[in-house]
Symmetry: C2
Subunit: 215 residues, 2 copies
């Protein structure tokens, strides 16, 4: 075990949905690299990684996306804006590429993996178009969960946002008509000392409502 | 910053979807408590926590759920089986309870929070019944992402499972007809030294396919 339980819970308690970021405080390249790597390492169903992540540092672009984020200023104030997009539908080509990656890394051959390929194709084809998108989006929420946890561990602040205009984001990012669609945005950076929300205690239901042990 | 980027990435690389657990190796109470607290601290939309988590140590119950998990033996072998359920639809009563918690923790009054309450009720009521369930499920996937990350940090092994029979889980857990419905299962514990998958390198798409920097 690398980390103490106390430090983990302290980090998770320190985390909050940041309402105001410190404009001039940038995330160090080493930490940004760790976040990028952790996004790549996110678990997904079958390991299929039905997603693409944008890490936006460009100030003009961040400013432009504010209006498509119901004017939430964190999108402009943050050090980096992470946009998490879902890939749907997953194509047979994508599954082939996944298996080719696997062969390159672990060895084996397409013939040996044909049963596994059929399993994945059957799983995907068994879903409606709507379900395929939903499945991919759910994987993206795993990535959000991991991103927020890793940011907390690095004492980087974040503000997960469902309330954005995905179609407008898609247009700005050049995703309209592609297999990728914006699912979530997450400005990351450092809290402003003016953000009164940083001082507030977390609101959680009593443990008895949320967790049931069966022993 | 409490943890080094190297140790974080080492933990995330050590993590894998465990195919075989060591039956007799139990998670220590202190670590299990950390996992429970981290589940409670999971971020959610509006902080509404539309979920309930079951932490199952009972061997008879774990054994019984194997058949509703496509016979995946990890459900029986693991130290604890975490079942993540989504709450839908969110009721006005739930929102009132949430605000009452907030007032108990942060102060304020229902009158002062009436605008905030209307905002949340409007958000919920704007969704169809199907969308309400989908929204709650997505929040549960954030919890899964945080759970997997925290387990990795504690060097506890896990195997996230979408492929279970939720309705059967609901029946066994007494959830049928309630507002809670099984979304995901996640056996946690320690990998068996017989699990060949533990030694395999992670398969990930090249960074250029997954991450785009806009600088």
């Amino acid at each position: 075990m690398t980390h103490s339980t106390d430090s983990i819970l302290e980090d998770l308690t320190y985390r909050y949905a940041t309402k105001e970021f410190q404009r001039d405080q940038r995330i160090a390249p080493e930490l940004l690299n760790c976040i990028e790597q952790s996004l790549i390492l996110t678990p997904s169903s079958f390991g299929l990684q039905p997603w693409k992540f944008f890490i936006i540092s460009d100030q003009t672009l961040k400013d432009k996306l504010v209006e498509h984020s119901w004017n939430q200023q964190q999108v402009s104030q943050c050090s980096e804006l992470v946009v998490l997009t879902a890939q749907a539908p997953i194509s047979e080509r994508h599954i082939d590429e996944f298996l080719e990656s696997q062969i390159a890394i672990r060895g084996g051959s397409m013939e040996e993996l044909s049963g596994y390929k059929s399993l994945m194709i059957g799983f995907i084809n068994n879903m409606s178009e709507e379900q395929k998108l939903q499945w991919a989006k759910q994987q993206v929420y795993i990535a959000l969960g991991q991103l927020l946890t890793i940011c907390a561990t690095l004492k980087i602040d974040a503000c997960p946002m469902e309330g954005i205009q995905p179609a407008q984001y898609d247009k700005v990012l050049g995703l309209s008509g592609t297999e990728y669609s914006t699912t979530l945005a997450c400005p990351i950076g450092y809290r402003s000392e003016n953000d009164a929300y940083a001082q507030m205690s977390k609101v959680r239901f009593p443990v008895e409502k949320i967790v049931e042990h069966i022993q």
